[in-house]
């Protein structure tokens, strides 16, 4: 057994032994679990992909005379101004003002909230336009100005739901193209899209939330961030296989970090034809090897991870809960799987290439002594369920 303190001392001294979740399974097989657990201190996990539930709080500082913003737009994308005088919140899926959306079906959705966040982190100059009704203490009623992230007092990203433990594989069984947040799905299951990094995915390497909890230090697009809460829709109660892999989405976490520390490569606006805009983010999560059992769980392989295949023409929109079958990430990454006697070509909407890069970057930061672990202050719920929205005809 190792403690967080011991591991952090080794990291600080530059002596920590770190491996990515992609490398570790093979190593443990060669060395044996007990010996490897004594040797390895940290396993790094990572993912890069669209994470719709993202946004950021921006503080602009006060102008002379002052304004208390009531409506605001950044690059014509509406921001939420009901926070405080010069605090704005902008969400990843917010469309730009005047976007025709799906009026010209399927819509293009070239620019939105996610792109504003990409531009901020890239240091580009953006336009702020804000209105107010004017008060005695905040008399200014309109402001139009240009700013970069360096002009802001704070730019703090918040992601209420990140890193789904597992995720659907989307197909389209109908006869017409389906435009979804999982990408363009061709008729009659001519393609399938999936969205998890599989064996590298953070919560699949700690399936019962033993070490990832509230307060865990994480790598969020290059910045040192934290898990601040359970993610929205976190649903710990799920059918799980022998490796703890849930048969559906299950666990999620809420993350936050300072955008001023982020790297542009890992904060990317997303345009999904016919669906809308979003944000793709890179996340790295270190798993401390406190005991052989922790290491064992971090040895999960793509062939052990099964994902549910769901029809996005019918079952997903109708929320029927029907699952067509389960397929392994080994099959998905191998290029496809069989469905109703036909081979379906699978492609990922998240990037395993970037996830691998992140796992290596984080491993390097830990080896150099630049990234210390943080023991969780509280755990993610292990009993929670996910409620559907019940539509009531009348107030009770």
């Amino acid at each position: 057994m190792k403690s967080y303190e011991e591991i952090n001392r080794k990291i600080a001294a530059g002596d920590a032994v770190v491996m990515t979740a992609a490398e570790v399974a093979g190593y443990v097989e060669r060395k044996g679990l007990e010996a490897a657990a004594r040797e390895i201190d940290v396993v790094t996990t990572a993912t890069f992909g669209p994470m719709c539930s993202s946004g950021c709080f921006l503080n602009f500082g006060h102008s002379s005379p002052r304004i208390r913003m009531t409506e605001a737009w950044i690059q014509d994308v509406p921001a939420y101004a009901g926070v405080a005088a010069v605090d704005l919140f902008i969400g990843a899926t917010q469309l730009r003002h005047g976007d025709p959306a799906n009026m010209n079906y399927p819509g293009e959705f070239a620019y939105g909230g996610g792109h504003v966040m990409e531009d901020l982190v890239s240091g580009r100059e953006l336009q702020l336009f804000a209105l107010s009704y004017g008060t005695d203490d905040y008399p200014r009623r309109e402001v139009r100005t240009y700013f970069t992230i360096n002009d802001l007092n704070q730019a703090i990203m918040v992601n209420p739901r990140n890193c789904y433990q597992n995720y659907n594989v989307a197909v389209n069984l109908s006869d017409k193209t389906v435009y979804s947040y999982m990408g363009t799905l061709l008729p009659q299951a001519r393609n399938a899209t999936y969205s998890s990094a599989g064996q590298l995915s953070p919560l699949l390497n700690d399936p019962h939330y033993d070490v990832i909890g509230i307060g865990t230090a994480i790598w969020l697009a290059g910045a040192r961030g934290h898990v601040y809460a359970e993610g929205t829709q976190h649903c710990a109660i799920a059918d799980r296989n022998d490796y703890g892999v849930p048969s559906e989405g299950a666990g999620t976490m809420a993350l936050t970090a300072d955008m001023k520390q982020m790297i542009p490569e890992y904060v990317r606006g997303v345009s999904l034809r016919g669906y809308g805009v979003s944000l793709a983010l890179g996340v790295g999560v270190p798993i401390p090897v406190l005991s052989p059992a922790h290491l064992q769980r971090a040895c999960i392989r793509d062939s052990d991870i099964m994902a549910p295949v769901v029809d996005y023409a019918d079952d997903y929109p109708e929320n029927s809960g029907r699952i067509l079958k389960h397929v392994s990430y080994a099959e998905l990454k191998g290029g496809g799987f069989e469905l109703n006697g036909k081979e379906v070509a699978a492609a990922s909407i998240s990037s395993y290439n970037k996830a691998l890069k992140i796992a290596h970057r984080l491993a390097d930061e830990i080896r150099r002594g630049d990234f210390l672990l943080a023991a969780p202050l509280g755990s993610l719920p292990r009993e929670s369920r996910n409620r559907p929205l019940k539509i009531r005809e009348a107030a009770q």
Binding site: L186, R268, G269, A345, S350, S351
Partner: protein, 140 residues
């Protein structure tokens, strides 16, 4: 011994559309070239674009290009109408099943790194529509 045939991909840009002139007809008839047009477009501004493969002997292709140059045209023999931006590509791979010719493919399968083979691209533009990261764009 007869001269071997080669295939070259060209993008022609006509700043002012010369649509009324049968250029392709002459390439086939006068220079014996086999022509495969991928994409042709006249913009509302009356600019014309043409992306095509020509197959023939080197000398016939040279002569044909000299003929084409007698028009008000810019010939781009290296550049293509479809641009893949390696820096913007996240290597997600979501475009791969949509690309009919495997012009977009895993160049480094171990790292799952996507690469683009310009010569295989037929400019169907499917990747532009499905890429969530705006990594693919068209010159016209």
């Amino acid at each position: 011994m007869s001269e071997p045939t080669v295939t070259r991909k060209l993008m022609l840009f006509f700043p002012r559309c010369e649509c009324e002139k049968p250029i392709i007809y002459h390439l086939v008839k006068d220079y014996g070239l086999v022509v495969n047009v991928f994409r042709a477009k006249v913009t509302p501004e009356e600019e014309g674009y043409l992306v095509l493969d020509v197959t023939g002997t080197e000398s016939d292709i040279e002569k044909a290009l000299a003929f084409v140059k007698t028009f008000d045209v810019k010939i781009n023999a290296a550049g293509k109408g479809l641009h893949w931006d390696a820096g913007r590509c996240t290597h997600c791979g979501v475009c791969l099943p949509h690309c009919p010719t495997e012009a977009l493919f895993y160049g480094n399968p171990d790292k799952r790194e996507v690469a683009f083979d310009e010569d295989k691209c037929i400019e169907c533009l499917a990747c532009i529509k499905v890429c969530p990261f705006n990594a693919c764009s068209s010159a016209f």
